[in-house]
Symmetry: C2
Subunit: 252 residues, 2 copies
């Protein structure tokens, strides 16, 4: 029988800049009595990765540029300091709504607010995405392997909206130890029909599955997903980014 388990990893406490996140995650698993196994995927919320990597900004120390101030007036007075941070983390603006701004980050992710968070951080504070989420995933993977001898995949997740569907889902912004896409193209179905457009974003589905136990309270900032079939190459979340040439929704 095909079976997958998703186990919430809690008890990490408040994460601070400089904390050794890989070790803290392994210790939290040990306290829960859950050993990482080969083939497991350890899913880690971006928020604790960014905190450990010191990606917190004090909004009181941000001076909005003229462009940020102009955008603020356009976006119902959205905090110009936040907009300054968003512009600094972005390659381009993809779309603007009444008070919403969707951008392409320097990593290539298209999301609202460049993934910058204001919740669960503290007053006057904003939290930026990790500079290199694949690198963050790789470091956690290597530290977990050093401590446990186990080769687990790692995903760093963030919470993204979708253009035509309400509600957010978690997706992978960093990947280490497996390939994030399963490519069925070239295979044929039982009737001999060649599967033409079948590439599954397995890493994003694992991210969403993990969110089902992680939730939004901050108490469960990581999860182990066990039993997935995974492409065995050491992949990158960059593989999940749609190239401009096949993007029908590039925006302005």
């Amino acid at each position: 029988m095909r079976r997958i388990e998703v186990i919430g990893v809690e008890g990490l406490g408040e994460i601070e800049s400089g904390d050794p996140l890989g070790r803290l995650l392994v210790e939290a698993c040990t306290r829960l009595g859950v050993d990482l196994l080969n083939g497991d995927v350890l899913v880690v919320a971006q928020k604790i990765v960014s905190k450990a990597e010191g990606r917190t900004v004090d909004l009181r120390e941000v001076t909005p540029s003229a462009e940020a101030s102009r955008l603020s007036a356009e976006l119902e007075g959205k905090d110009p300091r936040l907009l300054e941070l968003i512009l600094g983390e972005s390659r381009r603006i993809v779309a603007k709504g009444r008070s919403t701004i969707v951008v392409e980050t320097h990593h290539g992710f298209v999301c609202a607010n460049a993934g910058i968070d204001l919740s669960n951080i503290g007053v006057h504070r904003a939290l930026l995405l990790p500079k290199d989420p694949d690198g963050s995933a790789r470091r956690i993977r290597e530290e977990a392997q050093r401590l446990t001898g186990t080769a687990a995949g790692v995903i760093i997740t963030d919470t993204f909206g979708r253009p035509w569907r309400l509600g957010t889902t978690d997706v992978a912004i960093g990947v280490a130890g497996f390939g994030p896409l399963i490519d069925y193209r070239g295979q044929t179905d039982p009737y001999g029909y060649e599967l033409k457009a079948s590439v599954t974003a397995v890493a994003d589905q694992i991210a969403g599955a993990a969110e089902l136990v992680m939730g939004k309270t901050g108490r469960v900032p990581a999860a182990i997903v066990r039993g997935c079939e995974l492409p065995q190459h050491d992949g990158s979340a960059q593989e999940l980014i749609r190239p401009a040439a096949v993007d029908l929704f590039r925006g302005r």
Copy 2:
């Protein structure tokens, strides 16, 4: 410890028009030795729902309209009979690529090809989405409850692409027995910051989690997802559709 299980439901055999899908699913669970429990979500692939509901079309019996033929010339000779079906299932065209067409279906879902499948059906055959996927979910839920006495949620899933990310993820196109969105708005974080934009598409994340065991081979067309926290009202997949007023990517 927060824990979720995803269990593949296989052994249903080839589904034909008129098959009693609710009963077949319950029987398959019984053969696997897995009892549906209250609070479980039974996730069912659209493909077997559409087959059971007789939504198969013989492409040889489709006569393309002038518009379908014109579109075919525009889209690298894409089968004009398929385009005729796509237009018939759609409210409007959202975008066109080289050989890709993204539409809004009569249900309101924005997806490629109006969700029409050519794989795993047989030569010359196309499979349309269920006319009323919420109704399909409700009928499966009621039949399962009648046979087992258990109140499970039901999701009908389909496989959708995403505009800025490669690879597909499964999403909910039909829902019964629970609410597909978890709304955190108005709650405050531990620092007193009010969560403003936090609505989670739990049904879509469950759909993606189920795909991790279902895959694309057709052998595992359903799954049980156990242990999720679910909004308790009897919801609809319509709740997942972003209204036009807050859609920044309406297309042409």
